[in-house]
């Protein structure tokens, strides 16, 4: 949960960004005039000033919660495509309900949708039980077949005399502003039943989802549970159709739940986050739709939830894409720093530690990099408090012509890196029997990742060696004071 709280400000920011971007676009489209109206409408939406707004806000939030909850089970049980099929399968039912009532009568539409949904599931079950058609193919067949029938019927309806003002296309893409009070009751009841079901059967749902055969072995009726889940899924989809539409209904089931799966490792938290994100998405979608004066709600809901998904994907703790990029960059910088330090050490060593400073020119040629890069690396050492520079002569300060000396901390760090490198080389030649000319490249990489524990182990295995395979000194803890190393090359 703490994770989520941390993300909250970010989410708000994202919503705000969308809020600035989309209305601009829509304002032009529907001929609204400028900022004033946009803010007026925003205020109207969030102050819940009239009943129609209240219905929209309440309805879309509750739908979001229902879909988030059921969606958690849909996603963890790999039923995503099933949800999509079910939502498309109810379309012919809605059309038939309309033909039957000859108007947009909610009850008729509900009955039609439920009937069609069941027919769809029956077809699916038949295809799976009685043929060798694979499950995903069966889902594809039922989805497209039912949808095709639905579209044909809808087209016919629109050609009929009572069809013109039918508003049935709001069932295709969703129109939250068309939600009625009766719709709200349906939505509320569905949410209530879903919550009740999850509360009572939470443990059984958990265990049947994770390990079906084990759950059967302890006497859980996994099949009944599955059917109830399907039933609730169907109700959830049917009651949310008015707001989100047939085509995109499954998005609200899937996206918030998948987003939750990026964040948590336990089902309780998963449900909570998924429901919250669902509510956010529902509310956000209907808000933008309200601003846009009749933009279909479905796509906007999907955009909001997808936006949240991308946001979480990039910024989630420990392995978000941006976070990872940040850490890998930090790591690269560290490696560069360590390589520079090592180069400084080697230059000092090549003069038998007679001097305590080097000039930038020497470092450039040792590292094989140009002056610009070299300056950057030196600057980074200075920033990290590992080195200091002064101009070569007080009068002229030309780039690449300065004197560099390590601070005590920098010196210690450099010794440590060189020590890591040489210990590893020695380990490879002595213990892993590498030839001495094969070990350098490997040590170049390993030196940056050897932890203190590993070093201690290596010291132990190699019994505190003094010289590396090339006969060079392995600077030890006691050598790390300048004086010691200065006197040691002769020994």
């Amino acid at each position: 949960m703490r994770i989520f709280l941390k993300l909250c400000p970010g989410l708000l920011l994202l919503v705000a960004l969308l809020a600035i971007g989309i209305p601009e676009l829509m304002a032009k489209q529907v001929g609204m005039q400028g900022e004033e109206k946009f803010w007026e409408r925003t205020v109207r939406f969030f102050l819940l000033q009239d009943t129609s707004v209240q219905i929209v806000v309440l309805g879309s939030t509750l739908i979001g919660i229902s879909c988030g909850l059921i969606g958690s089970y849909v996603v963890t049980r790999k039923l995503s495509l099933f949800g999509d099929t079910l939502s498309h399968a109810v379309l012919p039912g809605i059309a038939i309900g309309f033909l039957w009532a000859e108007s947009k009568d909610n009850i008729a539409l509900m009955v039609g949708a439920t009937g069609a949904g069941f027919l769809g599931v029956s077809c699916l079950t038949f295809l799976q039980k009685c043929t060798h058609v694979r499950q995903d193919s069966a889902l594809g067949i039922v989805l497209s077949g039912f949808y095709a029938v639905g579209i044909c019927l809808l087209t016919r309806i629109q050609k009929m005399e009572f069809g013109n003002q039918s508003g049935l296309d709001s069932f295709l893409f969703g129109q939250a502003s068309a939600l009625s009070v009766e719709d709200l009751w349906g939505i509320g009841c569905t949410l209530f039943i879903i919550s009740l079901f999850i509360l009572t059967a939470h443990k059984k749902l958990l265990i049947t989802g994770f390990d079906l055969s084990f759950s059967r072995s302890i006497g859980i009726r996994a099949d009944s549970l599955q059917y109830v889940l399907w039933l609730l899924l169907a109700f959830c989809i049917i009651t949310s159709l008015q707001a989100i539409g047939v085509i995109l209904a499954s998005a609200l089931l899937i996206i918030p739940a998948v987003t939750a799966s990026l964040l948590v490792k336990r089902m309780n938290a998963y449900l909570l986050i998924s429901a919250t994100l669902g509510a956010f998405a529902g509310l956000g979608g209907s808000f933008f739709s309200f601003l846009g004066q009749g933009m279909p709600t479905g796509p906007l809901i999907v955009l909001v939830s997808a936006g949240i998904f991308i946001f979480v994907l990039c910024l989630r703790p420990t392995d978000g894409l941006l976070i990872k990029w940040f850490f890998s960059r930090k790591n690269t910088l560290r490696i560069h720093r360590e390589d520079t330090l090592k180069a400084v050490y080697q230059i000092l060593e090549s003069h038998d530690f007679q001097h305590q400073t080097i000039n930038t020119q020497a470092l450039m040629s040792k590292r094989g990099i140009d002056i610009v890069k070299c300056e950057i690396e030196i600057q980074q050492l200075i920033n990290a408090g590992l080195a200091t520079t002064e101009p070569r002569s007080p009068k002229l300060s030309i780039p690449g012509q300065s004197i560099l000396s390590l601070t005590p901390m920098g010196w210690e760090y450099a010794c440590k890196i060189v020590r890591n490198h040489r210990l590893w080389e020695l380990y490879l030649t002595n213990e892993a029997k590498y030839a001495p000319d094969h070990v350098h490249d490997d040590a170049e990489k390993i030196e940056h990742v050897l932890g203190d524990d590993t070093i201690r182990q290596l010291e132990h295995i190699l019994s505190n060696p003094r010289k590396d395979p090339h006969g060079k000194l392995i600077p030890s803890l006691t050598d790390m004071e300048m004086g010691n190393i200065e006197s040691s090359p002769s020994s």
Binding site: T76, K78, T200, A201, K203, K204, L206, I207, G209, F210, D211, L212, S213, F214, R216, S217, I218, G219, I220, A222, D223, S261, V264, K265, R266, M267, Y270
Partner: protein, 264 residues
């Protein structure tokens, strides 16, 4: 001892999938407190036997009795450890959640997990040396660690009979030793254990009874008696060609129904 019902009794059991017989006329009586290894080649029907005893596959003929009761009533006395592949490892549960599932059989619809249940789960995790992983997501474990968690869940069930399907697959040598010693201590406390195993080399040391299975029961008895060259040859060498041909013939007769896999 003999007056008590057998923990597991299988009589003339025949099971087939889509008319292809997998088990044929298997008789088996397992005595309380035995540690039984079920061995046989791939596709011999070992998993099928376990699933039939667990009432997950319906037999075409014969019956299974658990503690003298029908499988339907009896399976709740059995701790079942499925094959590792049968589980969704991506599922959002932690190691602790999984072990607590072992306690679910003792809870009702509104049953809450009590402190005692949690303590028990704790102890079971400790026994398999996985306590430090209690809050890990189950998918982040290695194969051997997952198998240990399964074992901890079985321990938490406190059953008197255990059926385990290939608990040693994908497990390193150390874990295998741990599991075996836990199995032996379970046996010592009076449990009956039936373990599907595919490694002949170790079977001899792990189990005190062996069931050699290849479509038919080849032999069942104390390990020293059953673990003989001849019987093993019969189990692994040359498929029982004549026999399986006859069985297939018989299966084509209409009176032998196809086994229905329950709920699959």
């Amino acid at each position: 001892m003999n007056s008590l019902p057998y923990p597991i009794q299988v009589h003339d059991l025949t099971v087939s999938y889509q008319r292809k017989p997998v088990l044929y006329g298997v008789d088996l009586e397992i005595e309380a407190g035995s540690l039984v290894g079920v061995i046989g080649p791939n596709g011999a029907g070992k998993s099928t036997l376990i699933k039939t005893i667990m009432n997950m596959v319906r037999p075409n003929g014969g019956f299974v009795k658990i503690l003298g009761k029908s499988p339907k009533a009896g399976t709740k006395h059995i701790g079942y450890v499925p094959q590792r592949e049968s589980v969704d490892w991506e599922f959002p549960v932690t190691v602790m959640d999984v072990v607590l599932m072992g306690r679910y059989g003792h809870l009702g619809w509104f049953g809450r997990i009590s402190k005692a249940d949690k303590k028990m789960a704790h102890e079971c995790l400790e026994k398999v040396d996985m306590l430090s992983y209690a809050n890990r997501q189950i998918g982040n474990l290695s194969g051997g660690q997952q198998q240990r968690v399964f074992l901890a869940r079985a321990l938490a069930q406190e059953s008197s009979i255990y059926l385990m399907d290939e608990p040693f697959v994908g497990v390193d040598a150390v874990t295998e030793k741990t599991i075996v010693s836990i199995l032996k201590s379970m046996q010592q406390s009076g449990k009956t254990l039936v373990i599907v195993h595919h490694d002949l080399a170790t079977a001899k040391n792990y189990f005190d009874h062996l069931l050699l299975l290849n479509m038919r029961k080849i032999a069942y008895g104390p390990t020293p008696k059953v673990f003989t060259e001849e019987l093993l040859q019969k189990t692994y060498g040359g498929r029982l060609t004549v026999f399986s041909e006859m069985a297939s013939q018989a299966a084509k007769q209409p009176e032998i129904e196809t086994a229905k896999t329950i709920g699959e």
